[in-house]
Symmetry: C2
Subunit: 385 residues, 2 copies
C-alpha cells in the first residue's frame, strides 16, 4: 500500500523570495549543493519519491549559479515559495538556513523578500527617523555608551547613567552582561537608571534615553519589557542570539511596550567568523536584524578589539538602510575602537546616520565620564551637517 | 571627578563554574586570549581601570592553560562566579560564549556547573526514564520518524501519522519545517495527527506519541504548546536556534504544558562546523540542550547526508547521559542514514538508550510506511536487551 498521494494540487500564490548562497566546491559539487539546498530547506525528502507537483511548487528552485572570482567558489540564487515560511520569522529563518547550517561550505550572502512576504514584517517601529525624533537630534551622528562594569550596584550604575546623560550621551544602555544579578537586580537597576537619566534630562533640557538590557526568562520577556517602559526606560537592548530573533519582532510588535530596540550581537559570532560558512555580516547583523524589528544594530567596529573588517562593517551599514519595501531603515551602531581622533574616519565610513557606541574609553583620563562624554560630543559636533 | 568607586565589596558565595575553551595561537597568544575571555565575558572593561576587588571576584579566572597535541592549540579552563549568570539560562550562555563568539580562534569544549548553580536548572522534565514510561518501552532502543514532505495537507500528514503508529514507531514528530503554512495549518494539523495516533494506539494497544513542531511567534509559543497538549500531542519538537534556548527551559518548566521536549539542531550548524571556533558538538547538542530541558536531542547521525563524525556523535551521546547533579539524562536522537543493515553498528555506538530517527527511508520499497516501520521495529527487536 502506497501511502503518499500520487500528485498534489496546492493553491500557492506564485510569489517567491530569493536567498543568495556562496558555495564552496567544484562546479559539479556546487550544482549538487544548490539542488540539495532546494530540497533540504523545504520538503527534506528523497527527490525520487516526491509526489508529482512538489518539485515545481514546494521545493526551492535554482535561479542562477555563477562562478565567483575565487577558485571553487560559486554564487547560487535560490528562490522559495513565500508560503513555505508560513509568514512567520522563525520559519523564514529556518527556510533560509535551518538544516543546511549543518552542511559545510554554504554561506548565506543575502536575501531578497518579495513585496508580498515583506507585508508580513513590520520591521523597526521607530527606525532612524523615529529614534531621532525621540532624541531630538536631527543633524548629527548619535552617541551611545554602556553602563558597566558588571559588579557595580544598581545605585553606582545609576550614578554613571546620570553623569553620561549630563555629558550629552544620547543612548545610555546597560552593558549586555547586566541581567538580573544579585549585585544589581534588574528591577532596581532599571528604576534607578531611568530615574537618573530623567533627572539629568530635566537639568540639561536634553533627551537622553536609558535602554536596559532585556535578558529575561523567555516566558517573562514581554513582561519585563513592559515593566521597563513603566519604569521610564527609553528603549531596550536585546541579544537575539540569546532570546531568539523572534523576540525582537515580538518586542517591536503591538504586544510590546512601544520602545525602540537595539540589538546586540552576543552569541552570534560563530555565524560570521568563517568566510565560507554561516551568514554574511550584512545579512545577519543588517538585513535579518532589521527585518526582525531592531531600530539599531550593535556590531563590533573595525579597528577595535574585535576582528570585523571595514568592508564587513560597511555591508552591515548598507543593509541597515537599503530600500526594503515599507520597512524603515535602522541605525548601524558600531562599537569599539572609537576615539576623538577617529571621528573623521568613522564619519567618512558611516556618514551621519550612525550611532557610535563608546564604552571603556569614556572612563579614561581620570575617569570623569561626564567630561569625557562632553569631549566626545564636541568632537562629533564639529562635523555637524 | 572620578566616577567609579575606588573599591567594591561584593557579597558573593565563592561558588564558581568552569568552562573549557580550545584556543588557537602561540603559547603567548593563548595566555592573552585566556585573560581576555576572563574580562570580555564579565566586566567587559579595561582591566587597568577596574576598581579594586573586581578582578579577584567578578572577572573570570584562568584555572589552567595546557598545550594540546596539535600545534598552536591550547586548552584553557576558566572559572566564573556563579553570580555572574544571575541564575538564568540566557545570561549563563552569555557568560560562556557571548561576546567572545565574535573573536576568532576560541571554541567552547565543555562546561562544568557548580552544584549550587545546577540547583537553578531543572533540566529535562521526563528524561530517559520518564519518556520510556510514557512509551511503555523499557528494554529496547526507540524509533522516531518525521511527518513530511512539507506541502502535504493536514489530512494527508495525519494519514501518515496513523500508518507510522500502526507500524510501531514510538515517536512520530512533525518535520521541523512544518510550521503554520497555509497548506497544513498548525492547529488543524495538530488536531488531526494527534487524533490519528490515538486511533492507531487504540487499535494496536500501542503507546506511540505525536510530537508537533512548535514553531510559533515568540509571544505565542507557550500558548501553542498548551493548545498542542489539549489537542492530544504527546510531546513537542523545538529548534532552540530559532526560538532561543530559554524557550526549551520555559516549555519544560511549570509554565509549560507538561510534555516531553525534543530539540532540533536547525540554524545551529555554524557553531560546530569549524574545529577551532564555536562550540563543541558535545557541549552544544549535549550539555546545553540537556541543561535547557530537552528530553531528547536530535542531531545528524554519522554516515548520513550530514558531516558529523562518529566521535562527534558519541560526544553528544555522552553529554546526554553523564552525571550532572539532579539533572536527568536525556536521549540522544541521531537522525539520518539509518537502515536495517546498520542496526548492529548503531547499537554498538549508542547502546540501547537511544532514539533512532528515520525519515525518508521509511517511504522506500513501494512507500508502504506501515510495513517499512514494522520491518525496522523487527530489525531493532532482534537486539532487545
Amino acid at each position: 500500500m502506497k501511502t503518499l498521494p500520487e500528485a498534489v494540487t496546492l493553491d500557492l500564490s506564485g510569489s517567491r523570495f530569493t536567498v543568495t548562497y556562496r558555495l564552496t566546491g567544484t562546479h559539479e559539487e556546487a550544482q549538487r549543493m544548490a539542488q540539495d539546498i532546494c530540497i533540504e530547506q523545504t520538503v527534506e525528502f528523497p527527490e525520487d519519491l516526491l509526489p508529482s507537483g512538489f518539485v515545481a511548487r514546494v521545493t526551492g528552485r535554482v535561479e542562477s549559479l555563477m562562478p565567483l572570482e575565487a577558485p571553487d567558489r560559486f554564487e547560487a540564487v535560490i528562490s522559495f515559495a513565500d508560503e513555505t515560511t508560513g509568514y512567520e520569522l522563525p520559519q523564514l529563518l529556518n527556510v533560509i538556513f535551518g538544516n543546511i547550517s549543518i552542511k559545510p561550505g554554504i554561506r548565506v550572502e543575502g536575501l531578497a523578500l518579495s513585496p508580498r512576504l515583506l507585508q508580513h514584517f513590520r520591521g523597526p517601529q521607530f527606525g532612524q527617523d523615529g529614534l531621532r525624533r525621540r532624541l531630538n537630534a536631527f543633524d548629527r551622528p548619535l552617541l551611545s555608551t554602556a553602563l558597566k562594569p558588571m559588579g557595580l550596584s544598581a545605585l553606582e550604575l545609576s550614578e554613571l547613567a546620570y553623569q553620561f546623560a549630563l555629558g550629552g550621551i544620547d543612548i545610555i544602555k546597560d552593558d549586555h552582561g547586566l541581567a538580573d544579578q544579585p549585585f544589581a537586580p534588574w528591577r532596581e537597576r532599571v528604576l534607578r537608571c531611568a530615574d537618573a537619566v530623567a533627572r539629568a534630562n530635566a537639568q540639561t533640557g536634553g533627551h537622553s534615553l536609558y535602554m536596559p538590557n532585556l535578558s529575561a526568562p523567555a516566558e517573562g520577556l514581554l513582561q519585563r519589557a513592559h515593566e521597563a517602559a513603566k519604569a521610564g526606560a527609553g528603549g531596550l537592548l536585546v541579544a537575539p542570539g540569546l532570546t531568539g530573533f523572534d523576540a525582537v519582532r515580538a518586542l517591536a510588535s503591538a504586544a510590546g511596550p512601544g520602545l525602540p530596540v537595539m540589538s546586540h550581537p552576543a552569541w552570534l559570532g560563530s555565524f560570521v567568523t568563517h568566510p565560507d560558512q554561516g551568514i554574511s555580516h550584512g545579512a545577519l547583523f543588517g538585513h535579518i536584524m532589521r527585518l526582525a524589528g531592531a531600530d539599531a544594530t550593535v556590531f563590533p567596529n573595525y579597528g577595535g578589539r574585535f576582528s570585523f573588517r571595514r568592508e564587513e562593517c560597511l555591508q552591515i551599514a548598507q543593509a541597515a538602510t537599503l530600500p526594503m519595501g515599507d520597512v524603515a531603515p535602522m541605525f548601524p551602531a558600531p562599537g569599539g575602537g572609537m576615539t576623538a581622533e577617529r571621528v573623521a574616519d568613522m564619519l567618512d565610513t558611516y556618514g551621519q546616520d550612525v550611532i557610535f557606541l563608546i564604552g571603556g574609553g569614556l572612563f579614561r583620563d581620570g575617569g570623569d565620564v561626564r567630561r569625557n562624554s562632553e569631549s566626545m560630543r564636541e568632537a562629533l559636533d564639529t562635523y555637524r551637517k
